[in-house]
């Protein structure tokens, strides 16, 4: 246990700049960009929506590339690999840490976008385009979180097997697409154009996301049940492959 604590301490000390830049990026995407572009490009401009969306995606890509670089550097760093920490301890730490961080990042993202949304409403200077921004935010957050998790679990410290890393990567992307379509699959929305039905219960829905809870209703159909089951399988496969990649390593040189 002491080793895991020491490992966590070392990890967060070394990674703090990366986390700060990630959260600063999230802040930019979730709060500043919507505000700035709405103000600059007007309220009803479709062009503005497109630019906002493109820039937000670009920022996500930059953030992801940053996270990827950091994690890969660490994963292939001999000094880090030879640190006296067992593979199982590393995996346990990474799994828990990535889940917690993902949840915190998602929640941070949602709250910021919610407040950005509220600011638009209060100032009454923007015409909101339905529920689309929150929908976009959700998908961007999920993208960041999923790819960060992939980097963390499949390429991070000790994960050096090409085969299992690729399996992990594919499983990770499958997870990403599953999460991307979760609002529809879970019945929160009827189609992808409006992720949340109305403004009033948005806070409630944000809360639901944070707790990662399923909606308070039975899984209505066989299709939903199959979707749920496949989601659980994908998550399972994701973690198993990550574990394998930590166990079975070989050179990628």
């Amino acid at each position: 246990m002491n080793t895991i604590i020491a490992y966590a301490r070392k990890h967060y000390k070394e990674m703090r700049r990366n986390y700060l830049s990630t959260f600063a990026g999230l802040f930019l995407i979730a709060f500043c960009l919507p505000l700035a572009f709405r103000a600059m490009l007007g309220t009803t401009s479709e062009f503005g929506d497109e630019v906002l969306l493109c820039l937000a995606w670009a920022s996500v890509l930059i953030l992801t590339a940053n996270a990827f670089r950091e994690w890969c550097t660490e994963g292939y760093d001999s000094l880090c690999l030879t640190l006296p920490v067992s593979i199982n301890s590393r995996f346990l730490f990474q799994a828990v840490s990535s889940l917690v961080l993902s949840m915190v990042a998602t929640q941070f993202f949602f709250w910021l976008s919610y407040f950005a949304w509220e600011l638009f409403a209060d100032f009454n200077c923007m015409v909101l385009i339905g529920d689309e921004p929150i929908n976009i935010m959700y998908r961007l957050a999920i993208t960041q979180v999923a790819i960060h998790s992939i980097c963390c679990l499949c390429f991070a410290r000790g994960g050096r097997s090409r085969t299992t890393s690729w399996v992990g990567l594919v499983a990770g992307f499958a997870l990403f697409f599953f999460l991307l379509n979760l609002p529809e699959a879970a019945g929160w929305v009827s189609d992808s154009s409006s992720a949340f039905p109305n403004v009033e219960n948005r806070m409630e829905i944000v809360g639901e996301h944070w707790q990662l809870s399923l909606p308070n209703r039975p899984l209505g159909s066989l299709t939903e049940f199959v979707q749920f089951l496949s989601g659980v399988s994908i998550v399972g496969a994701f973690y198993v492959s990550a574990w394998l990649s930590l166990r079975e390593r070989e050179s990628l040189k």
Binding site: D77, S78, L79, L81, T82, R249, E250, S251
Partner: protein
């Protein structure tokens, strides 16, 4: 028993040729091993296999009987590996020490302070902002202070200036006095010739020579020679011809590692036969 064993290992990089095939070797504690060889013979690969960073495709590498590739906590605490090139986190050396030293139970703060002084380490700047030479000094000070049983150094003197190389030599001599072992992989033979007490020369077929300096000195003679003596290697100097010959007397001559290395390139098979070294 305390040792690092390479047991009939095979290794190849996925996109490269076979580096080791049926390779066996044992390293015992209390020595300074020098691993020499041309570029590409697998010196760095050997270090990575010993430290569990790479996994052999056949056979096993064990540290005190435990497989290195499992990278168990107890096994990893016994070794410190310094790669030829490496990056360090965005921390100062003192911050780095605070978060990394707890993993090494024998880490000595006093020794660390002393090594930093000897190696003239920059301590007030972030490690990631230092030059490779400064980074190497800093990590060497940390690595020596960990007092691990095995110190694996891959081209440790690359990037160090003359003063730092001298300081490094002093630290190595002291480290072994304290009972630890060092394995140095290098092609800068001159810089370590006074340090090592056991030499391993590799070529693409495997081990050319694996012997202590004493054994080499008793089997080979280094110095003035003539063509009739059939030297393994000779070179013309201002003072005449010098070379490496088979020692037919009981007298030991000081080992010239650079000349021996040249012999291993020119008379590989003769050297192998002389030291009964098995090819892969």
């Amino acid at each position: 028993m305390k040792m690092i064993s390479f047991n009939q290992i095979g290794f190849r990089y996925r996109l490269g040729s076979q580096v080791f095939r049926d390779f066996s070797m044992t390293l015992s504690p209390g020595h300074v091993y020098g691993v020499l060889g041309e570029n590409g013979v697998g010196k760095s690969t050997l270090m990575k296999l010993a430290s569990g960073v790479l996994i052999p495709t056949a056979g096993s590498v064990t540290i005190d009987g435990r497989e290195a590739s499992l990278r168990e906590e107890a096994t990893m605490a016994k070794i410190i590996y310094l790669p030829e090139e490496f990056s360090l986190p965005a921390l100062t050396l003192d911050e780095f020490r605070k978060v990394t030293a707890p993993f090494y139970p024998s880490f000595s703060d006093e020794s660390f302070e002393e090594y930093c002084r000897v190696l003239d380490v920059v301590r007030d700047r972030r490690l990631d902002k230092l030059s490779m030479g400064q980074r190497k000094r800093a990590y060497l000070a940390f690595a020596f202070a960990c007092r691990a049983e095995w110190l694996l150094l891959d081209e440790p003197t690359n990037g160090l200036d003359v003063a730092a190389k001298e300081a490094f030599r002093r630290l190595v001599a002291r480290y072994v006095d304290e009972g630890q072992s060092i394995i140095i992989s290098t092609h800068s033979v001159r810089e370590i010739d006074s340090l090592i007490d056991h030499l391993i020369i590799l070529d693409r077929k495997g081990i050319v020579l694996d012997a202590s300096i004493g054994e080499i000195g008793s089997r080979l003679r280094f110095g003035r020679c003539s063509a009739e003596e059939e030297p393994l290697y000779s070179e013309s100097t201002l003072a005449g011809t010098s070379g490496v010959m088979v020692n037919t007397t009981d007298e030991e001559s000081p080992v010239d590692i650079e000349m021996l290395f040249m012999s291993s390139l020119r008379s590989t098979e003769r050297l192998r036969r002389l030291f009964n070294t098995k090819t892969e």
